[in-house]
Assembly symmetry: C2
Homo-oligomer: 400 residues x 2
C-alpha cells in the first residue's frame, strides 16, 4: 500500500508550509505580519459583497460547466476594455486560476511532456505540473537583469520534441517583471516556429507601475490559435476566497477538450460567479486608487529593503511581490522558520516565503525570499523593521 510517486514528489508550498510554525508563534501570543502570501488587505468591492447579502434563490444549484452565461458575457465586456476581443464560447470559468492552469496543462500535456517557464515562477506551477505529470523546464532569469527574458537562442536550447508550451506569468509573480509587447512578439515567433502553445498567466494585469502598460497574450493575432490565457479575480478584486478564475483561448479544439474536463467536475461555485460578475462592472474609479495604494506599498518596501545591509533586490514593475537576495545567509528557509520559532520583538514577527520553491533548477534561490507587499503602509514599515532586526540577529548567530 504505497502512495503514488507524484504524491511523494510534489513539493509542499513554500508559501504555506511554514504555517505550523506561524500557528505556534500565534499560540504564544506573537503577532505575525504576513508577507508570505498574496492575501491583500484591500477591501473586497461592495458590489461583490452585496451579491452574497442579497442572494434570493431558494435552491443553490449547479451552473453550466463552462460557467454562467451572464458572467461570461460580462467577462467579454471586461476584456474588451483591454483590447482583448473574445466571445463567450472562448471562455471556461474555473475554480480560481489554479484550476485554469491545471486544465491548460492537462489539455496540452501528457505525462513526460515539457513546458518551458521562466524561473523564478509562481511556485504552485510546480504542484500543478506534478498533478498533470508534466515537466517544467526552467528558463532561468536573474534579479540583476530585472528578470528579463533571455534571447531566443537561449530559449531554443531548451526546446525539444517533448516541449508542448511556453508559459509566462505577466506581470510576474514573484519577479515583478512586466514583459513588453516586443518580448511577447518574440515568444510568439518561437511558438510558431516550433509549433507549440503559449500559456499566459495574467492575473496581475491591472497591477503595473511607473506608467508601463500591459500587453495581453490574447492581443497577438498571429498566435490566436495557440495562445491560452489563465486568469483569476483573486487579486484583481481582493477576492481570494471566492475561487473564481477562467481559461480563455480561441483554439476551438482546445476549448472543446477542456470543456470535457470541466464537465467531469460539473461546475465552479455558483454564487461566487454572480459576485465575480458584479465586479466586472468596476472600472478605472476602482482600479486607480487600488493601483496607487500598491505603488505606495511597493515604494515603501523597496526603499526599506535598500536600507538593509546584505539585501540585493530590484524594483518590481508589476504585481505585488519582490524577490530579495539575502547575501549574508545561505538558507533562507531556515531563516524564515527561525523568524517564526525563535525571533520576536515586542511580541511581533514577520513571515515571508523562502524563494527556493519558486525555482525548478536545484539549488537556485536558496538564499532568496519572496515578500508580498499586501499590507498597509504602517504594517509594512513595521514588518520591514522586524526583517532588518531579525536578519541582523540571525546573521550574527549563524556566523558565530
Amino acid at each position: 500500500m504505497k502512495l503514488s510517486k507524484r504524491a511523494v514528489e510534489v513539493q509542499a508550498s513554500p508559501i504555506r508550509k511554514l504555517m505550523p510554525f506561524a500557528d505556534e508563534a500565534k499560540a504564544k501570543g506573537v503577532k505575525i505580519y504576513h508577507l508570505n502570501i498574496g492575501q491583500p488587505d484591500i477591501e473586497t468591492p461592495q458590489v461583490m459583497i452585496d451579491v452574497y447579502r442579497n442572494y434570493q434563490d431558494k435552491v443553490l444549484a449547479y451552473g453550466p460547466s463552462q460557467g454562467l452565461l451572464e458572467y461570461r458575457q460580462n467577462l467579454v465586456d471586461y476584456y474588451s476594455r483591454y483590447d482583448i476581443h473574445i466571445s463567450t464560447d472562448d471562455i471556461i470559468v474555473t475554480t480560481a486560476g489554479s484550476e485554469a492552469i491545471i486544465f491548460a496543462m492537462m489539455a496540452i500535456c501528457d505525462a513526460g511532456d515539457e513546458i518551458i517557464i521562466p524561473e523564478p515562477f509562481y511556485t504552485n506551477y510546480n504542484g500543478f505540473a506534478k498533478m498533470a505529470g508534466a515537466k517544467i523546464t526552467p528558463l532561468t532569469t536573474h534579479a540583476e537583469q530585472e528578470f528579463a527574458l533571455p534571447p531566443n537562442e537561449e530559449i531554443e536550447k531548451l526546446i525539444n520534441v517533448n516541449t508542448k508550451a511556453i508559459m509566462l506569468c505577466n506581470p510576474g509573480n514573484p519577479t515583478g517583471a512586466v514583459y513588453s509587447k516586443q518580448d511577447l512578439e518574440r515568444i510568439a515567433q518561437l511558438a510558431i516556429k516550433h509549433d507549440i502553445f503559449v500559456i499566459a498567466d495574467e492575473v496581475y494585469r491591472e497591477f503595473v507601475y511607473d506608467g508601463l502598460s500591459h500587453t495581453s497574450i490574447l492581443t497577438l493575432e498571429n498566435i490566436a490559435d495557440r495562445a491560452v490565457l489563465v486568469d483569476s479575480i483573486s487579486k484583481r478584486y481582493s477576492a481570494c476566497g471566492a475561487r473564481i478564475g477562467c481559461m480563455i483561448s480561441k483554439n476551438e479544439e482546445l476549448m472543446a477538450a477542456t470543456l470535457k474536463f470541466a464537465q467531469a467536475r460539473l461546475c465552479p461555485p455558483t454564487i461566487e460567479q454572480l459576485a465575480a460578475s458584479a465586479a466586472t462592472k468596476l472600472q478605472a474609479e476602482y482600479f486607480q486608487p487600488t493601483l496607487a495604494e500598491y505603488k505606495k506599498r511597493r515604494d515603501i518596501v523597496f526603499s526599506e529593503l535598500q536600507k538593509i545591509p546584505g539585501i540585493v533586490c530590484h524594483k518590481p514593475k508589476g504585481a505585488f511581490y519582490v524577490i530579495a537576495k539575502l547575501t549574508a545567509i545561505e538558507d533562507a528557509e531556515d531563516f524564515a522558520k527561525w523568524m517564526l520559532a525563535e525571533f520576536s520583538e515586542n511580541k511581533e514577527t514577520v513571515m515571508f516565503s523562502p524563494a527556493e520553491g519558486f525555482y525548478a533548477t536545484p539549488g537556485m534561490g536558496k538564499n532568496e525570499i519572496r515578500i508580498a507587499y499586501v499590507l498597509n503602509e504602517d504594517d509594512l514599515v513595521a514588518a520591514m523593521k522586524l526583517l532588518r532586526k531579525g536578519l541582523k540577529k540571525y546573521s550574527a548567530m549563524i556566523s558565530y
Copy 2:
C-alpha cells in the same frame, strides 16, 4: 501543436453533453423536465442561505488549504452522529466531491495504475481517472441482480500488480445499490490481503430507503489505515452550487501528501465553507422529511417505469437514481437526443442520461438510461408520461 492524448480521450459527460440539444429545444419554447442531472429541487436549508445573506467580512480572504478549522470541527461532530470517529486532522475540505476524488486518485495512483470500480459507476470517475492518468478496471454488476457485488473470487481475478485501490460508491449512483456491512467487510479483507486502498464515495449517505442502514467505510477498524472517504454536501443539503466536499482518511502519510496538492490550489471557497459549516447542525428534523420526499419520488418513478412496456429496472435502495434498460431500442443516446431534438408533447419533453458512459466496459449500457428522481411528484409523473409516449413513438419509428 497537438492536444494531449488524455484531452482527446477523456469522455464528454453523458449527463451534460446533450445540453446543446436541450438549449435548442428551450429556444424553441419547449419545457424540459431534467432527469439527466442530480440537481434536486429541494430548497437549500435556510441556515445556509442565511450565511450568505449575513456575510460581514470586509475582505473575502483565502482560508487554510485543509479547510476552515471551524468547519472541520463541525464535520467531526456531524460524522460522530454516524458513528464515524475522526479528528480535524483527518479531513481535507475540497472544492466539491469532484476534487476529493481527483486528490484521492492522484495521491494513490501514478500513470498506468489501476482502480477497480463496480460498474455502472458515477460517470465522472472516468474523467477524473483520465486526469490522473489512472485506469479504471470495471467490475461489472447487473440490474437483474440488483447490482450486487460479485463474490471475492470474481474481484480477485481483476487484481494485478498495478492495482492500487478498490473504489465503491455507497449508496450507489447510478445503481441505487446499498452495500451491507458484510459486503464492506469482505472488500476490506480483499484490500488487506492484496495491500491496496479502499476509496468510498458516500455522498448519498443519508439517502437510504426501506429501513436499510448505511455502513461507512470509516467504521471498519481493520482498514482504518487504508480507507479513504470522499464526500460532498451537494446532495445532502441540496447545495450543488456551493462546491464543497471533503476527503477523509486516518492514513497520516496519505493526508500529508494530499495536503501538498491542496496547498498548490490554495484553498476551497471561503464563504461556501461557512455555509456548509452551518448546515452541519441539521439533524433528523431536516433529513427525515427530505428522505420521505425522495422515497415518495422513488416509488412514483419505479411504479411509472413498471407500467412502460419494454423497460426493465430494479427498485433502487438508496441515492436518487434508477437505471432503466430499454429493451426495444439499441441506442439510448440516440433516443435521448431524439427526445430533445424531435419529440415534444404540449411543448414539453424530458431529458435523461444515456447510461453507456456510466460503464467502462465497451458496449455495456448502450440501451440503458439513468433517471435522476430529483423533481416533485407532479413533474415526475408528467416526465414519466412523456418518456412513455416518446419511447413508443421512437420505437415505432426505428422499427419502421
